[in-house]
Structures are given as structure tokens and as C-alpha cells.
């Protein structure tokens, strides 16, 4: 089977005030249709850069990206992006934000009524029908991220690109959104590339975890196949030795092989990325609910729904 998306020898050099800076070097990756890929690595290693090259927002200096046999040169809705900080237009309601995308992508292909149904369908997928006429400043961070996902899904992308989609959310909200995402994925079987700094999230959601070495000149260090049958359940997996084995492998890559000797971070933090110290903090937080120690947080499905309304 031919891969849907292929990155070949991708490298990029930024020209900065202090001369050129090589961010990526020889990144090779083949992704099949319906695969869920996580990109993980220390902050500032170049994850967002890889994603932005696939999105077409950045141009690779060497190598290239081929989607469905065609080279990627510019951004487009067939490679929808979910940005870390939602990027909703603050003056539009949730519905109107999705509408902007749908009108753009399906102009002339869907009737008005079909578009409306399609917008509502996508908002329903992310459980946002109850607040679809609210504006971003009237809904919580988790809800904004849900709308961002709905907007991306509504474009019917060939590849869904997500840059730390849940990075700014609290652990509980994040868990709800991960579950929602797994449900949606079961239904739509999208091809996904997701950047994360959360080891549990990566293992829980992915088919493969792509681990990146530290920059400069970052590249792919290891790729880990996650052979856990779906649907996956976070509570059952918490006791599963395979799950813990995968977690351990990612952790050992990040904290032994690619240990950051110097904890200080690059001076420039483009696009308001989370800082390195947050990585560690966030990991502790998620571990609290994902590992056996976090069983006290266990909740029934009914409570789940209630929490979703409250926290998401």
C-alpha cells in the first residue's frame, strides 16, 4: 500500500538575526491512511516546525512533503490544522466559526440546508450543540478546543494536523477531550498527526509514536508502534503491562537518551509555545489521573457527562 503522506529528507533552516539556524535535518516519515501518529519531543526541538511544513505554512529548505502523490507547497483545507490555542475568531460564535470553514470548503458543493446540517453534525460530534451560538469568550478553554476540532473536522481533511491540541487544558478536561477524540476517530478513521508533550496521551491515542531528538538539527530518533487493540480504555490500560511498557519506552527516550542537559530554554519561543518546565509539570498532572495512583479520580459515565458540561 502506498502511504497517504510522505515526508522525504525534510530539512529546514531559519534565517535569524544571529545567522541561520538549522531546526530540522533529514526527517523521513511515511504515514498510511487512517493512521494516528503522535509527535513527541522536548520543547523547542522542532515538532511544530514539522507540522507547519506538512500544513504548508512553512516551506522546507530541503526535501519535501507528498500528499496523495502531490507535493505540498501551500496551506489548504485538505490538511486542516487544530492550533494549540484554539485560534477561533473571537467575534464569531462557535457555529459561525465552523460555518466560515464550511462555506469556504463546500461552496458550490453543498446547499445552504446541507451546510447547516453539516455544521451542526460536526458540532454534535464534539458535544458542542448546547453552546454553539456562544462566542469564544463565553465558553471554557476545553470547549474552545472542541470547536477548533469541529472546525477542522468539518473541512473533511485528508490529514488532520493537531499542534498540542490539549496542551493548555487541565488534566481532567484533557482526559474528556481525549475520550471524545477516540470516539470520533472510531467513527471517522481520520489520518492524524498530533503533537503532544504528554506521554500518556501519546500512548493512549496513537498507532505510532514518533520521537524526535533535541534540536538544533532535530530529526526522528525512534518510532514506537503501539499494538493495543481499540477501543482503548484508560482505566483498564492503567493496569496493562504492555501499556506501561510503552510508556516506559517513551519516557526513557525523553529523559535518558534525549535528556536535556541544559534546562534553560531557547531565548525565542515562537507562537507562544509552552515552556519546558510546563512539560514536566503537565506530565505529573496527567499521571495523577492516568496511573493507578489516580484511581481515586475514577468516575462513572454519568458523572463523566456532567463533568464534560462543567469543565469542558
Amino acid at each position: 500500500m502506498n502511504p497517504l503522506l510522505e515526508l522525504t529528507q525534510v530539512g529546514i533552516e531559519f534565517s535569524t538575526a544571529k545567522g541561520s539556524f538549522r531546526a530540522l535535518q533529514s526527517v523521513d516519515l511515511k504515514i498510511n491512511k487512517g493512521e494516528y501518529i503522535s509527535l513527541i519531543g522536548h520543547s523547542g526541538c522542532g515538532k511544530s516546525t514539522v507540522l507547519n511544513i506538512v500544513a504548508g505554512l512553512l516551506q522546507a529548505t530541503e526535501g519535501g512533503v507528498v500528499l496523495n502523490g502531490k507535493e505540498v507547497n501551500e496551506p489548504g483545507p485538505e490538511r486542516a490544522v487544530v492550533f494549540q490555542n484554539h485560534s477561533l475568531l473571537p467575534w464569531l460564535s462557535a457555529y459561525e466559526n465552523v460555518e466560515l470553514a464550511v462555506k469556504q470548503v463546500f461552496r458550490g458543493k453543498k446547499s445552504k440546508a446541507e451546510m447547516k446540517a453539516w455544521i451542526e453534525h460536526n458540532l454534535e460530534l464534539v458535544h458542542m450543540t448546547h453552546a454553539m451560538h456562544k462566542r469564544p469568550d463565553e465558553i471554557s478553554g476545553g470547549m474552545k478546543q472542541r470547536v477548533g476540532i469541529a472546525r477542522a473536522l468539518a473541512m473533511e481533511p485528508q490529514v488532520l494536523l493537531m499542534d498540542e491540541p490539549f496542551g493548555a487544558l487541565d488534566a481532567l478536561t484533557r482526559a474528556h477531550l481525549q475520550d471524545s477524540l477516540m470516539d470520533i476517530q472510531k467513527e471517522l478513521n481520520n489520518t492524524v498527526i498530533m503533537i503532544t508533550h504528554d506521554v500518556d496521551e501519546a500512548v493512549l491515542l496513537s498507532d505510532r509514536i514518533v520521537m524526535m531528538t533535541n534540536g538544533p538539527a532535530a530529526t526522528i530518533g525512534e518510532i514506537l508502534h503501539i499494538d493495543l487493540e481499540r477501543p482503548r480504555n484508560r482505566l483498564q490500560l492503567a493496569d496493562d503491562p504492555r501499556y506501561n511498557h510503552y510508556r516506559h519506552q517513551v519516557l526513557s527516550f525523553l529523559y535518558e537518551k534525549q535528556r536535556k542537559t541544559d534546562d534553560s530554554l531557547p531565548a525565542t519561543q515562537p507562537h507562544g509555545q509552552v515552556s519546558g518546565s510546563q512539560i514536566i509539570k503537565e506530565n505529573h498532572e496527567t499521571r495523577a489521573i492516568n496511573t493507578p495512583a489516580g484511581h481515586s479520580h475514577a468516575h462513572t459515565p454519568d458523572q463523566d457527562k456532567a463533568n464534560q458540561l462543567k469543565t469542558a
Binding site: 500544513a55 496551506p75 490538511r79 486542516a80 490555542n85 473571537p90 467575534w91
Partner: protein, 338 residues
């Protein structure tokens, strides 16, 4: 109905406690809030009037004492009564004309009715009207130029760098410097046997426009240039056309800054107008002040002082109107609007 009205009224800050007090909610507390909200500004005005009164009586000019608050009150009453008398005269004139025409028609059915306009001198109220029309026309034309220009140069860093020096140089130019140039150009270009509007009006309006263009241009450009990269990325991923990008993303994002500029522009326009009218002899408040100054009667200073206060009040009102407009169009309700 009454609930809706109460809700609307309670958006006005000092009315809220008043309504609550009237509804019997926590009466004493609300009354003290009212006392503060109205009482303190009132006390400020009173103190100002006292200082003004004291200072005025000790300043002697060749036209008599400097007008105090009492003189101003008397003069404003006179100006209003002059206006009323003038209107009555005009009404009487038109009535006589109508009667005369009716009589002529009765005698000779083929008579073609001629209607003449009343040619009395403009009253103070007419002059306020002229000033408002002039300033609003100048401001409107300036905005129609400044907003598109601001958007275009805000979108491109190169255009911004190209325009910036020109803007920075023209921004501080006084209206008095523009006026002779504008007057000459208008005299040369605006020639017509039957002009729709007076030359003095065009000159004042263009001077106002030239002076109030810049704050809107600059603020709009800055608003457009500071749109977050995330929103630009969204636009790129959606492959929005240039026009859709401007309409759906750039314009709404820049509206708060644009209005900051528009409010600055309008207040500059109003300040510039008075000077422009004085020199261009446009029959508005500026000309009123100038004429009174030339006139030099014992009432003149009092009448000029009435104009000063009128100018201040109108300037304040214009700014409040812009603020209300800004509140109704801006999506960013959380932004502090002052």
C-alpha cells in the same frame, strides 16, 4: 416593557442605584452611591465656577471686565432669544409672501409664483448647525480615505514603511499652515456660477479633513498589523481570498483600534474646525468668535465665552456618541472604553 426599560436605564451607571433605591432595594446604601456619583462631579463644577467668578472680576480688559459665569448666562439667554426673534421674523416673512402670492394668483391665474428665501443673518443656533455639518463632512471624507488606506498599509510591512515617514511628517502640521494652500486651491479648482455649497465651507471642510486623517490611518494600520499569526494561519489554511480575508478577519480584528483612531480624529477635527472657520469665514462657531472679537462691544467677551462653553460641550457630546457607536460595533466588549 417596564422591565426592559429599567434594564436599559440601569446600564447608565449612576441611574442604577437610583432605580434600585426607587424600587426600595437597600435604600440608604444606594442613596449614598447616588450622592457620590452625582454629588462629587457637581461639587467639582461648583468649585470651578467659584474660582472662575473670582478670577473674572479681577481681570480688566479694554472691553470691560472678563465675563464671569453670570455674564455668560445672560449672554446665552440673549443669544437664544435673538434666535427666536429671528425665526419669528422669518416665519412672518414667508407668511406675507404666501399671502401676496395668493392675492396675485387670484387676480391673474397665469401669474407664475416666485418664492424668495428669507435673507436674515444666521443666528447662533444656525452657526452651531453649520459648524456641525462642516466638521462631520470633513470627518466623514477623512474616514472614507483613512480606513481603507490604514487597512492597505497595515497589511503590508513594506507599504507601511513607505507611508510611515509621510504620515509622521504631515501628522503634526497645524491647520493654520494648510489653510492658505487649501484656500488658493479651492479658489482655483472650485469654480461654478451656481455653487452647491459655499467656498468657505469647502475650504474649512478640506482643512479639517487634512488634519484629522492621520490618527485613523495610523491606528487602523497598527490594528491590522497586530492581528495574531494564529488568525492569519487560519485564513491561509482555509485559503480565504484577499477580499474575504479582509472582510472576515482583518476588519473585525482591527475595529477596536480603528475606533480609537476615529475618536482621536473626530476630536482633532472639532478643534481644527474652529480655527479653520475663523480664517475661511465659514459661517459657523469659528466665524462667530471672530466676528464678536472684531465687533468689540461690551457684550463680546461674554458671547465669546458662551461659544467656548458650547464648543466644549459639543466636543464632549461628539466623543460620547463615538463611544456609543464603538460599543455597538465592537465585538470586544471586555476592552476598556474611555
Amino acid at each position: 416593557m417596564s422591565i426592559a426599560l429599567t434594564q436599559t436605564l440601569s446600564k447608565i451607571s449612576w441611574l442604577e442605584p437610583m432605580i434600585k433605591a426607587a424600587q426600595g432595594e437597600n435604600r440608604s446604601q444606594n442613596l449614598s452611591i447616588i450622592a457620590k456619583a452625582i454629588g462629587i462631579p457637581l461639587a467639582g463644577i461648583l468649585v470651578f465656577l467659584m474660582i472662575w467668578h473670582a478670577a473674572a472680576s479681577s481681570i480688566n480688559t479694554s472691553l470691560g471686565k472678563f465675563p464671569g459665569p453670570a455674564d455668560v448666562l445672560i449672554q446665552s439667554k440673549t443669544l437664544i432669544s435673538e434666535h427666536i426673534t429671528e425665526r419669528e421674523k422669518a416665519a412672518a416673512f414667508y407668511q406675507r409672501q404666501d399671502e401676496r402670492n395668493a392675492r396675485r394668483l387670484a387676480q391673474d391665474p397665469d401669474y407664475i409664483v416666485k418664492i424668495r428665501d428669507y435673507t436674515g443673518k444666521p443666528t447662533y443656533v444656525d452657526q452651531i448647525g453649520t459648524s456641525l455639518i462642516t466638521v462631520l463632512s470633513g470627518f466623514l471624507i477623512a474616514s472614507l480615505i483613512a480606513i481603507p488606506l490604514g487597512i492597505v498599509i497595515g497589511l503590508s510591512a513594506n507599504l507601511y514603511s513607505a507611508f510611515n515617514p509621510v504620515i509622521q511628517i504631515f501628522k503634526p502640521v497645524s491647520p493654520l499652515a494648510w489653510l492658505p494652500l487649501v484656500t488658493m486651491v479651492v479658489s482655483a479648482v472650485y469654480v461654478s456660477d451656481d455653487p452647491v455649497v459655499a467656498k468657505s465651507f469647502v475650504t474649512s471642510m478640506i482643512t479639517v479633513m487634512l488634519c484629522c486623517l492621520w490618527p485613523t490611518v495610523i491606528n487602523t494600520a497598527v490594528g491590522v498589523a497586530s492581528i495574531s499569526q494564529d488568525l492569519k494561519n487560519v485564513s491561509q489554511v482555509l485559503r480565504l481570498s484577499w477580499l474575504t480575508h479582509v472582510r472576515k478577519i482583518v476588519l473585525p480584528a482591527a475595529i477596536p483600534m480603528m475606533f480609537t483612531g476615529l475618536r482621536l480624529s473626530l476630536s482633532i477635527a472639532w478643534m481644527v474646525l474652529i480655527a479653520a472657520e475663523m480664517l475661511a469665514q465659514n459661517p459657523g462657531l469659528g466665524k462667530f468668535v471672530w466676528d464678536e472679537f472684531q465687533n468689540g462691544s461690551s457684550n463680546s467677551l461674554g458671547r465669546i465665552m458662551v461659544a467656548v462653553i458650547t464648543i466644549g460641550l459639543i466636543g464632549f457630546a461628539l466623543d460620547r456618541i463615538m463611544l456609543l457607536l464603538q460599543r455597538s460595533v465592537s465585538w470586544d466588549k471586555s476592552a476598556t472604553l474611555r
